[in-house]
Amino acid sequence: MIWLKTLPIVHAQRLNAQYTVLTVEDKDLAAASHPGMFCELRAPNQEGRQFKPISIYGVEGTRLSFFIKSVGFGTDALCALQDGDTLEMMGPLGNKFPVFAGKKALLVSGGVGYPPLAWLKANLPDGTTVIHLHGGASSEDIFDCDISCTMDGSEGHQGLVTDLVLPLIQEHGINLIYSCGPVGMLKKLTELSGDIPHFVSMEAYMACGVGVCHGCVIPVGDGFQRVCKEGAVFDAKLIDWRQL
């Protein structure tokens, strides 16, 4: 089921100047959501403009939350919402992260790649060993994780997350990778991951969000696939990274 709903915001938590977490309450949506899925969101004052795809950051009981970085008019309007304001939403959309028992998993996120992996981490099967490696431009972009990197060195290791991946794989015997973040990071990570299974949640500009417009494609195999429909989670090995 895909719902088109207008829900009151039960909590709008501003994490810092750039990031806000919006929480809504809805039984149906909460029950149908899984890590990797996203919703199309819109602030009420953006009527007539397109919805914006935002990963589901978590479900607790009947509550659903979204972790949003303000980067343009759509996300600015979302981040400006306050408790009690309404949120227009369509979802849940897309596929889920596949999960496997008894794995040693490395989760790698960059910037707004954080939310889907943070939720996935909390939902991996018992017995999974997990390391969540997260990076961003500065300490403002860092949230709860196991290892962090910043470009400016203001928190965690200075440099790119991908600098740390190989040593981590070796040290911990990683045999499963999940990732979400900027294309450059994902591309590099795919090189580094070698034979290890690697699932990546991709971003793309979207119009319909439900598979009808073919606007959100990425090159997969010898054709294109839709991020909103076949994705957002893809097997990283099938993506033709050279075209991205």
Binding site: M1, I2, W3, L4, K5, E47, G48, R49, Q50, F51, M90, A204, Y205, M206, A207, C208, G209, V210, G211, V212, C213, H214, G215, C216, V217, I218, P219, G223, F224, K229, Q243, L244
Partner: protein, 306 residues
């Protein structure tokens, strides 16, 4: 009240959906969607995404960009090709649809267009065709045939004798004289015209100097094109007596009504489907209520702008 005619087709509603903006993927989700996204009791016809002789993968991403007043697209007509359409998509469409099916198609030469039409004619259940000679996002198909009135006339006059079904020619707005293009379609034997396809459009990332869409120039649609679409609908209506299926930025029933006054016998909702999947149904409801209050039918208003 809402009944209208588009050439050889009698439609129960003047509201349709624009090719390519309401893909048949909606059928997969219509039962799982809690909004009325394919309200067949409110739509006059269903127009499918443009198909071409052979499968097309479409253009490399990014394919879309939202501008302040609409959107740019360079989808590039991805489609499974004629054969797969007939084998796989058409049966599903016919099973799901209770309203007339209009098949949009395009080709790279007059012969290809003719071959498409002849092949489609053999299939059951198609009510009409929309000849897409106006897609700005492909090299070979499309706009080359819609940019020159002589070329358009040649094409349409070859196609018209091949069918007794509704034959709509979809015109490009990127021309000097829309009236002349409409006349060429009429002279060639089209039974109606539709317009507008997308306008030329472009956007550039000012931070990097990179075009937002790799092909640079692509198609512009949505709210920002409405005044242009309305002007061209009016100009076309003045030039020919063919019925017009009009589109371009329609997002509410008042917009639809403006196009009807300008000369449209029916309208299509395109880009608004993305910002409001319930738009076609809402437009139908609003228009019906207005007509009831006014006590007139669609047919009384077509082309009556003063």
């Amino acid at each position: 009240m809402m009944k209208t005619k588009l050439g050889r087709l009698a439609l129960d509603s003047p509201i349709t959906v624009a090719s390519g903006t309401f893909g048949m993927e909606y059928f997969e989700i219509m039962d799982v969607f809690d909004a009325p996204i394919l309200p067949q009791d409110k739509l006059g016809a269903y127009i499918c995404k443009t198909i071409t002789p052979l499968p097309k993968a479409g253009n490399p991403p990014p394919r879309i960009y939202e501008t302040e007043c609409g959107m740019l697209n360079s989808i590039g007509l991805p489609n499974p090709g004629l054969q797969c359409f007939l084998d796989e998509e058409l049966p599903i469409l016919l099973e799901k649809l209770s309203i007339p099916l209009i098949v949009s198609f395009s080709g790279g030469s007059v012969d290809e267009f003719c071959m498409m039409l002849e092949t489609l004619e053999k299939a059951e259940g198609i009510a009409g065709y929309e000849i897409n000679v106006s897609c700005p996002n492909v090299e070979n198909e499309g706009i080359a045939f819609g940019a020159d009135s002589d070329v358009l006339y040649q094409l349409v006059s070859r196609l018209a004798p091949l069918t007794n079904k509704e034959l709509i020619v979809k015109l490009s707005p990127n021309v000097t004289d829309i009236g002349r293009m409409a006349k060429a379609a009429e002279a060639g034997g089209a039974s109606s015209i539709s317009l507008i396809n997308t306008l030329w459009g472009m956007a550039i990332d000012w931070q990097t100097g990179k075009a937002r869409i790799p092909r640079k120039v692509c198609g512009y649609s949505g709210k920002g094109v409405k005044p242009v679409a309305l002007a061209l609908t009016y100009q076309a209506a003045q030039a020919v007596s063919l019925p017009i299926l009009a589109m371009g930025g329609i997002s509410c029933w008042q917009d639809a009504l403006e196009f009807i006054y300008a000369g449209a016998s029916a309208v299509a909702v395109g880009t608004s489907n993305f910002t409001d999947p319930g738009a076609p149904a809402r437009i139908y409801d609003g228009l019906l209520e207005h007509l009831k209050a006014k006590g007139s039918g669609i047919k009384d208003l077509i082309g009556t702008v003063s």
